[in-house]
Each structure stands twice: as structure tokens, then as C-alpha cells.
Subunit: 413 residues, 2 copies
């Protein structure tokens, strides 16, 4: 039998024990994982070194190599993450709603684990541990499908975690790494409805699209953020400049960074904003109108409005009013995070009612779209779809519900 | 441009108006639809007659013809359904959660429409109106893809509804029927991510599988219910008999009917139960053990345990204990509705903790898995998947969320 099927069966088997564990038992197991990762640090670094050597030989880019690399410090960050998950409240078992019907049936909807979660991700080995700890905390088993470039690191991390689980209340089989990283096996995994309950892809647009295109298992889609900030006529000068700089430059490579700024044509501080951005090293692309006025601005192409630059590049467009800003976002946005900077309550309400996105901001940076920043404590991804969970996904997003119905002989008439 | 794309664009355009309508405006439009359906009754019946004639010519089965047929009484039931939806509370705009972060950001998660819902369904023309009224009540636009056998009925119903909307606050474009019922166009529809937010298939297993297999749009899967009742050693005789008869016979063709009864081998009333079932015309299939004792019982095949009979046929199996019952359900169940009849609290708890299904019953019939019976007022389907909504889906299931974040200049550090 193939590795995939064998491991999928073991995972499904493990869910039987996982679903009845107490929070204390799950936390005990997570603490053992944290300790084991510390104790086995040098083994993990040594295996990671193999991936680094192979990566250099295969010509991986410096930024990919950086994502792949583990250091003592990075392992400690990973361990801190596991310890953080231990402190979070356990959503499993929570009563969501409870009600009684006229015929006396008593209904109670409670939160339960999803079952087996399939994580599909790219280079960064920290996802291996992050995903495993979030899944175990919620009583889920997890099939980890990382990339071939991180195979030695992932094998080391998973074997250390499994060894720790051997001495814990959680079965070691609850975490499995798919070592066969071939495309064919991935395709098979995406359709393994009998064993997997959900797929969570994390990585670039290509990876996510491949999962969405090929999966028959429900997917929690994460990803692309073409985020906008609309600066209204009444926006405060310094606030607008600070927010745009933060949203573009604090970490340009992430999905909640801003990609296009829409400026009300009567806002008086456009010049100051654009010059500050230019000074800070942001490459600006704008309408012909602005490109003619400012020598440092390049004329934007149609493609620029639709691009998630993930770099210090910003598209800029003057708009007549809030309606035109909304229309632009409707057309080019990816329903991730959209902001309005304004002192006009009516415009804020209009923007909040009409813009269709996971998170809408008034007078704040789009960079706050994040599980940690929202107060969820941890994050398994940011959902850009509308079903199940929208926006940052914390522990609750990897649970489902059960409705328990208590009767005394009721039949339907 | 193809009909599909033209209509999909109109629907997306309509969502802009739909998302800002008040509950009163939506109810006003629904009342106009109800009145128009009454007024245009004879036109609808006349168009339905064309489908009936074609259906007979094409050799549709009597049960399919029955599903297809409209009568004055059935139209009144459909109209009553619309009027019922008017009375239901509107979930759109509800605040789900509201909280403030240490940095002063105030977050408010509210319920909003999904956008454009794609309904994919078979013969019954009542689904056309049911789905449209549930979608409009929640501010969603809806693309209806019914079967070719009901095309005249569906065209008549949709044109009557659209005409009513012309005089209402809801744009008439918010309801669209896909008249091209070809397989190719359906496949295209299932992948139209740019315009459709969700697909809801309702119908037989073949239809649902085709949607799940081919869709790239998120699917709210409904459907198959291979439901079990476990009769524990301590189960009351009359209660067990009444519940099994109700769950099997009250409406055998539906997904929440029972298909297999698991009986604790020490339960003293097996004989009475089986004889009563036989007298009531239920065909019984059981283990060799029982088939040898009772001449009216046929020996079950492996396939019988996995079959949703949707008919007065019942599989029966003696089990040693609650654990064996759970194992059987784990293996053959479809995670829909599962019941335990027992006077032992410990066994009920074990069953509720271990069985993985949308709805679990203690001492009640599985037939209650239904939006109306749960008190949701209406139902767009019963979800058999674990994401977004599990079990009966009412109005809330066709909404998503938005998080509104109120700041005063916060940037991320």
C-alpha cells in the first residue's frame, strides 16, 4: 500500500482517541513536543543543513534559502509558538447554542475537531510545527505535505514530535509527514475524501490554485491580498501618511500589505504623501495625470491595478469620490483587507456597507489582518474565501460542530 | 457573450444593491413575489403542463413525474413557503462578536450576504422559488440551474418572480435562470469563481458528486444519509419500536430516514421489533444469525451496510456493545444523523463523544434532522460536510462575515 494511504488510515484511526482527550492531556503532549524540540535542536539543525546544501546546489534564490534556514534562534521561536498554543483556550467542547423545541426535544450545538487536516505548504519548516501544534490543540490529526526542498528538516521535526508523543496521551500517529512529495501523490491527496476532512494550502498563488483546481475535499483557501487604502477628502494629513507608510513598508512581502492607494482628488496633501513615499524608497506607479507632474512616478499599466507587488512598489490613483474608490476596489480587490482614512462618518459607513472584503479598516493600517493582532493568539492562515471562516483563522477555524439532540421518545408526525 | 456569463455579470451587479437593502425592503419584495405567484397561477400551470407532456414522452418514471408536477395546491404551498420566509428574522447585519484590542482598535464581526449563490438541482420546480426566496431574504443574488425536464416550469416561475421584482426595491436581475442546461455549461458554471461565491447542489448522489468533482467554487455539500439507530441493552421496548418505525417508514425516500438498526444482543425485544417491522411491510436484511432464525429475513450482503435504501428496506445487525455499534457507524455511516436508544447515561455520553456526525440523537427519531424541525424556519439543504455549516442549513448558512475595524491612526509595529 502506498505511503499516502497507510498514513491517511493511521491518521483516521488516531482521531478516535484525539476526539475524547481533555484539554489538560492535549496541553501535556504539546509541552512534551516543546521540550523535545529544545533537546533535539542540534539534530534538527544538522538535518536542516542537508536541505540548505541541496538548496544551494539546486540554485534556490537567496530569499527561498532564507525561508528554509533554521537557526538556534528560529527553533526557539518555533518552541515559543508551541508554548503559546498551550496557553490558548481550547475551543473543543464549547457550547455554541442550546435550545428546546415545543415537542420537548433539547438541542445543543457543540464544537468538535474537524478530524484529519491536510496542510499543503512550501519551504518554511516552521509551518510543520505551527500547524501540528494548532491541530493537536483542537484534537485534529494532521497530514503534513511540505515541499521537497525542506524534506530533511520536516522529517527531523516530525520524528522529534512523534517521539515526544510516544510518551504522551496523544497517539504518535496523529502527526504524519508525507515524504513522497511528487505531484501525482499530491493530486491523489487532494481527492482523498475518505480520510481527509479539509485541506489548508499555505504558500504562493500557484500552490493555492493547484489545490483549489484539483481538490474534491473542502479547501480553506488562504492567500492573495491586493489590498487598498482610500484616502478621503477629509483624511488627516499625518495619519494618512503614517498609515500608508506602515501598510506598504513595515513588511512588504505579506498579504496584508497595501498595493494601491486611492486618493480623493480634493485631498490637499497628495504631494507630501507621494514625496515621502519616494524618499522612503517606494517605487510609485500612477495615472498619467500624476506621472506627468512627478518625475519619479512611472505610468501605471492596467496590470498594475491587479498586481500583488509583495515589494516596495505602490500603485496610486486619484478618484473623484468614495463611490469611485469602491468601484475600483470592486474591480481589482481580492476581498482581503481594505481601508478608508476619513473624518466623514457617512463615507465610512458607505465604504463599510459596500466594500466586500474579509476585513475593513477605518483609520488604521491593513497590516493588522492577522490572528495574533486580532487577539486569536495564533493563526493557521488568513481565509480569503467566504465559507466557514473569513479573515484570520485561529483555533476555532479548525473545528466543526455536532448537534446533540436529547429526547424522550419523540417521533416525527 | 454566452448566456451564462451575461447572467453571472448581471447577478454580480445586482449584489451591489442587495447588500445595502433593509429587511423591510427585502420583505416587501418577497410579498410581491408571493402575490404574483398567486395571480399568475394559471400561466405557471400551463407551462408546467408542457414539461409534463415532454416528461411522459421521454419516459420519465412516475415518481419523477410526480416531483415535476405542479397543481393549484402545490403552488399555494410554494406561496406559503415564501410568506413563511418573510416572517423569519433577517440574519444580515447581526453582530456576531465585538471586542477591543489593547492598542485601542475596536473590532466588530457582522453577518453579510455571501454574494451570488449557485443552486444546482433536479426536477422539483418548488426548489426554484424556495431557493430564490431564501437567497433574497439574506441579500444574496441567485443563479438557478435546474434540470432540462423542468425548463418550462422554471422559466415561468422565474419570469413571474422577476416581473414582481421590477416593482420592488430588489433589482429583477437578482434572480436568474440558466436556460442552457447542457453539461458543458454546467461544468463552466462550477468553475466561475469570478462571479459565483458558493454552489449548493440539491438532488441525487450523482448530481452532488458531479458538482464536488468539478467545482473550483466552494461547495456546500448536501445529501447522502446512511443513518443508524443503535438499540442499547437498556432501551425501552415501545420507545425503540416506535422510533425505528417512524425513522424507517414516515418518509422512506429522504436522507434522514434510518437505513440500519444495530441491536444490542442482550436487548430482550428483538423478536417483537423484527416482527412488527415485517408486519408493517419493511423488507429486512440481516446477519446470517438472524436470517436463520426468521424466515422473513434475507441475509445481508456487505453492500447492504453501505446502502442508502431510500425505500422500506432495513438492514439489521446484532452488536455486542456500544463500542461495536460505534465501530460499525464509523465504518459505514455518512456523518449525517445517528441515534442511540438507551436508558444508560454512560453509553449515551460515549456514543455522543465518539460518533462523528452532524446530528446525534438520544431517544428520538433521526427524522428530526430538518431546518423546520430544528426551529430554523426554513432550510436551503442539509450539509453533510464539516466546513461552514453542518446539518440543517437555515438562513444563516447563506451568509458570511465581515470584520469592521475602527481605529484612530493605529499602525503596526
Amino acid at each position: 500500500m502506498s505511503e499516502l494511504i497507510t498514513k491517511a488510515k493511521q491518521l483516521k484511526q488516531a482521531t478516535k482517541q484525539l476526539s475524547v482527550l481533555s484539554t489538560e492531556e492535549k496541553n501535556e503532549a504539546l509541552a512534551m513536543i516543546a521540550d523535545a524540540l529544545v533537546a533535539q535542536q542540534s539534530y534538527i539543525l544538522q538535518e536542516n543543513e542537508k536541505d540548505m546544501i541541496a538548496g544551494k546546489e539546486n540554485g534556490l534564490s537567496p530569499s527561498l534559502l532564507d525561508r528554509l534556514q533554521l537557526t538556534e534562534e528560529r527553533i526557539m521561536q518555533i518552541v515559543d509558538g508551541v508554548r503559546q498554543v498551550i496557553t490558548l483556550p481550547d475551543p473543543v467542547g464549547e457550547t455554541i447554542e442550546e435550545w428546546t423545541r415545543p415537542n420537548g426535544l433539547h438541542l445543543k450545538q457543540i464544537r468538535v475537531p474537524l478530524g484529519v487536516v491536510g496542510m499543503v505548504y512550501e519551504a518554511r519548516p516552521n509551518v510543520t510545527v505551527d500547524a501540528a501544534s494548532l491541530c493537536l490543540k483542537t484534537g485534529n490529526a494532521v497530514l503534513l505535505r511540505g515541499s521537497s526542498s525542506a524534506i530533511h528538516s520536516n522529517k527531523a521535526l516530525v520524528s522529534v514530535m512523534q517521539e515526544a508523543l510516544e510518551r504522551s496521551p496523544i497517539p504518535a500517529d496523529a502527526i504524519q509527514l508525507l515524504e513522497d512529495t511528487s505531484r501525482e501523490t499530491a493530486q491523489h491527496m487532494f481527492r482523498l475524501k475518505e480520510y481527509l476532512d479539509v485541506l489548508i494550502p499555505r504558500g504562493g498563488a500557484g500552490l493555492i490554485q493547484s489545490v483549489v483546481e484539483n481538490a474534491t475535499i473542502p479547501v480553506l483557501e488562504t492567500g492573495v491580498g491586493n489590498c487598498h487604502i482610500f484616502i478621503d477628502e477629509s483624511a488627516q494629513k499625518q495619519m494618512a501618511i503614517d498609515i500608508v507608510l506602515n501598510a506598504k513598508l513595515q513588511r512588504p512581502s505579506v498579504c496584508n500589505a497595501v498595493e494601491t492607494v486611492l486618493i480623493h482628488e480634493k485631498w490637499p496633501y497628495t504631494k507630501e504623501l507621494l514625496e515621502t513615499l519616494h524618499e522612503k524608497g517606494v517605487e510609485l506607479r500612477a495615472d498619467k495625470q500624476l506621472a506627468t507632474i512627478y518625475p519619479f512616478i512611472r505610468e501605471a499599466t492596467e496590470a498594475d491595478w491587479a498586481t500583488e507587488f509583495l515589494a516596495p512598489i505602490l500603485a496610486v490613483k486619484p478618484v473623484k469620490n468614495v463611490e469611485e474608490a469602491i468601484e475600483h476596489i470592486d474591480r481589482y480587490g481580492t476581498k482581503h483587507s481594505e481601508a478608508i482614512i476619513s473624518e466623514c462618518n457617512e463615507h465610512v459607513q458607505q465604504f463599510f456597507a459596500r466594500v466586500d472584503a474579509a476585513v475593513l479598516y477605518h483609520n488604521a493600517s491593513t497590516r493588522f489582518t492577522d490572528g495574533e493582532q486580532f487577539g486569536y493568539g495564533a493563526e493557521i492562515g488568513i481565509s480569503t474565501q467566504k465559507l466557514h471562516a473569513r479573515g484570520p483563522m485561529g483555533l476555532r477555524a479548525i473545528t466543526t460542530t455536532k448537534t446533540l439532540v436529547y429526547g424522550n421518545g419523540q417521533v416525527r408526525t
